[in-house]
């Protein structure tokens, strides 16, 4: 085997220019594949993280009627017992209780439909990235009476600035229409401009006073330490506290779940297509090599080199080309990913608003996990073997008596 490896290695370098071209083609092809995959993964991962942290969390609990009708009166059953249980559970990182009502926001000249979130600022601060998304003003600090935080797209649309007074109108628990003046203390911006144009945040205590009850909890959002525990923990909640609807992130937002699974598959297909194209380049190179070395292969078979050894030699030569090219491509690919994952790639020039409409950040941080590199190594080996099989079969079919006389 040692000599076979030596012969194959030296054979690779017999035609340096050709080998270097195929190595570079493999390398740059993989580099492109790795970088495109990392970019897409980063984009999807960021959107996923942002959705989990800004909106969905890992698990949400509602009254089943609330899910259907979104009326504030449908409060979660046994909310206090649930929060006590959550508070002491080691799987839970944090949670946030919310009161939700649909209503109308009005300025002196305009109105807009909004979703009103009554939140506890300390809970929300650790459960969601809401506070981090503030781009102007503060987190319910500068205004003591009825402060409100609104999204940037809503502020832009309604021409609202920090300190402006707005009127929020909604139904209280008795079904009566109630209105109150709020003052804008902060403006936030997430990567999802649709949500920013709709969701408005006030202190839970202020909202409770207006709707007429301070024990209404319409939503409990839970963030776990480990996302892999969502199924087990949601089942535990369901069995302990019946009468509520406990939903995991993938039930609440099936598009996220689909995107997560589909993107992995799509990226793998992209990589397979790149490697498939490379396999044809390799196949061509190896066929040329076999045709050029017909006489030599004839000699090897004449003097007693077994078919298995001839096959192995050609397989090794192909593998060397692929492996060198792949190592080169993977190194520059991994370096590119490492560099860009720290600084991020600013794609705002390509339409930040359009990306935001779809919930994507305009600055992408490419990312790849180790599993990807393992899959890549397996795919590369399969490519090497597949592209060696046909030329090797051609070589094995040579008649040594004819081959040794080929000019």
């Amino acid at each position: 085997m040692k000599t076979l490896i030596k012969i194959s290695w030296r054979n690779v370098w017999r035609n340096k220019a050709r080998s270097i071209v195929i190595i570079l083609a493999t390398g740059f092809g993989l580099w492109g594949g790795i970088f495109a995959t990392a970019l897409m993964s980063g984009m999807i991962q960021q959107q996923f993280d942002s959705s989990i942290r800004n909106q969905v969390s890992h698990i949400q609990i509602h009254n089943p009627e609330f899910v259907k009708e979104k009326q504030a009166e449908y409060s979660i059953h046994n909310a206090k017992q649930i929060t006590d249980f959550i508070e002491n559970n080691e799987k839970v990182f944090s949670y946030a209780e919310r009161t939700l009502v649909s209503g109308m926001l009005a300025t002196a000249s305009m109105t807009s439909g909004v979703e009103l979130y009554g939140i506890y600022k300390s809970q929300e601060e650790i459960t969601t990235s809401f506070k981090d998304n503030l781009i102007e003003g503060d987190y319910f600090e500068s205004i003591s009476r009825n402060p409100v935080i609104i999204g940037k797209s809503l502020a832009d649309k309604m021409n609202i600035s920090i300190g402006n007074r707005i009127i929020l109108t909604f139904q209280d628990l008795n079904g009566d229409i109630t209105s109150a003046a709020f003052r804008v203390c902060g403006i936030y911006q997430t990567s999802n401009s649709m949500n920013d144009g709709r969701n408005v945040f006030v202190k839970n205590t202020d909202l409770a006073a207006l709707i007429g009850s301070d024990d209404i909890v319409n939503e409990i959002a839970i963030l776990l330490h480990n996302i892999d525990n969502v199924n087990a923990f949601s089942e535990e909640l369901n069995s302990r506290f019946s009468g509520n609807e406990v939903r995991t992130w993938y039930h609440i937002s099936p598009d996220l779940s689909f995107m997560n699974e589909f993107s992995g598959m799509a990226l793998m297909i992209l990589l397979i297509i790149i490697l498939f194209a490379l396999a044809f380049g390799l196949l061509n190179t190896m066929l040329m090599t076999i045709f050029e070395r017909t006489r030599e292969l004839g000699v090897l078979m004449s003097v007693g080199m077994s078919k298995l050894r001839v096959f192995t030699m050609i397989l090794l030569e192909t593998s060397f080309l692929v492996v060198i090219g792949s190592v080169f491509g993977t190194i520059i690919g991994a370096l590119t990913v490492a560099l860009t994952s720290r600084r991020g790639i600013d794609l705002s020039g390509f339409g930040a608003e359009a990306m935001s409409e779809f919930g994507f950040d305009s600055v992408i941080y490419p990312t790849l996990d180790n599993m990807f590199y393992l899959n890549l190594a397996i795919l590369v080996l399969i490519t090497a073997i597949l592209s060696a099989v046909y030329p090797a079969r051609k070589a094995l079919k040579l008649n040594p008596a004819d081959a040794v006389r080929k000019e």
Binding site: T3, E296, S302, V303, G304
Partner: protein, 229 residues
């Protein structure tokens, strides 16, 4: 005892338009230690006969025995193994492995025979010394002259201690000096070490050194002469 014996070898090549009868019932017997030249004009069947004796091709009819073992019935993979253990080949165009040095080329056959590294080194050096290439152990074929390459090929053919060596026009590409040099070496090996040599050739220089000359004409043995040289 004969090392090689053929019985009524017939070889027909099925070309698309017309079957060609290259050998028409060749019977020859070659004893150990012979220096035989198979001669004849182009198309007479020399190379075909050599291929069949060497197990590189199979006859359409007839049998070939090497040391009383019939090789015409062997499967392809058994034939490869048989060639490795029993036959040394020297080709017209030297056909060394270009990426291996002279010593590695000679060792290669022994490597296929799974010999130890020590034995391979020892025998390869011994054989290269014998063919006068003691200063070329680590030189690759492209840095050797045609005559030197052919001498490496002879050393390679001898490396496996074969029962006989088949040389297909080994001097065809050599200048006179190199050809004589090679023939001297082979004749010495034949005489001193009793190595059986079978050449196919139409080179008069070879014919004059051979102790037996078998002439083929149109696929048949037309004469079989022995000389005391």
């Amino acid at each position: 005892m004969s090392v090689i014996k053929t019985e009524k070898i017939v070889k027909i090549y099925n070309s698309k338009h017309l079957p060609v009868k290259a050998l028409k019932g060749v019977d020859i017997e070659i004893e150990k230690g012979e220096f035989t030249a198979i001669v004849g004009p182009s198309g007479s069947g020399k190379t075909t006969l050599l291929n069949i004796i060497g197990g590189l091709d199979k006859p359409t009819e007839g049998k070939v025995f090497i040391d009383n073992e019939e090789i015409t019935q062997l499967t392809d993979s058994k034939l490869i193994d048989f060639r490795l253990k029993n036959i040394g080949f020297v080709f017209q165009s030297y056909n060394l492995i270009p990426v291996l040095t002279a010593k590695e080329n000679v060792s290669f056959i022994m490597l296929l025979q799974k010999k130890s590294q020590k034995e391979m080194d020892q025998r390869a050096e011994e054989l290269l010394n014998e063919v006068g290439l003691s200063d070329k152990f680590n030189v690759r074929p492209n840095k050797l002259s045609g005559g030197q390459q052919q001498r490496v090929a002879v050393a390679r053919a001898l490396a496996s201690r074969p029962k006989f060596i088949l040389a297909d026009e080994p001097t065809a590409n050599l200048d006179t000096e190199s050809a004589f040099n090679l023939l001297d070496i082979m004749a010495r090996l034949n005489k001193e070490e009793n190595i059986t040599l079978i050449f196919s050739t139409h080179d008069q220089r070879v014919i004059e050194r051979a102790r037996r000359v078998i002439t083929l004409v149109d696929g048949e043995v037309s004469s079989d002469e022995h000389f005391d040289r």
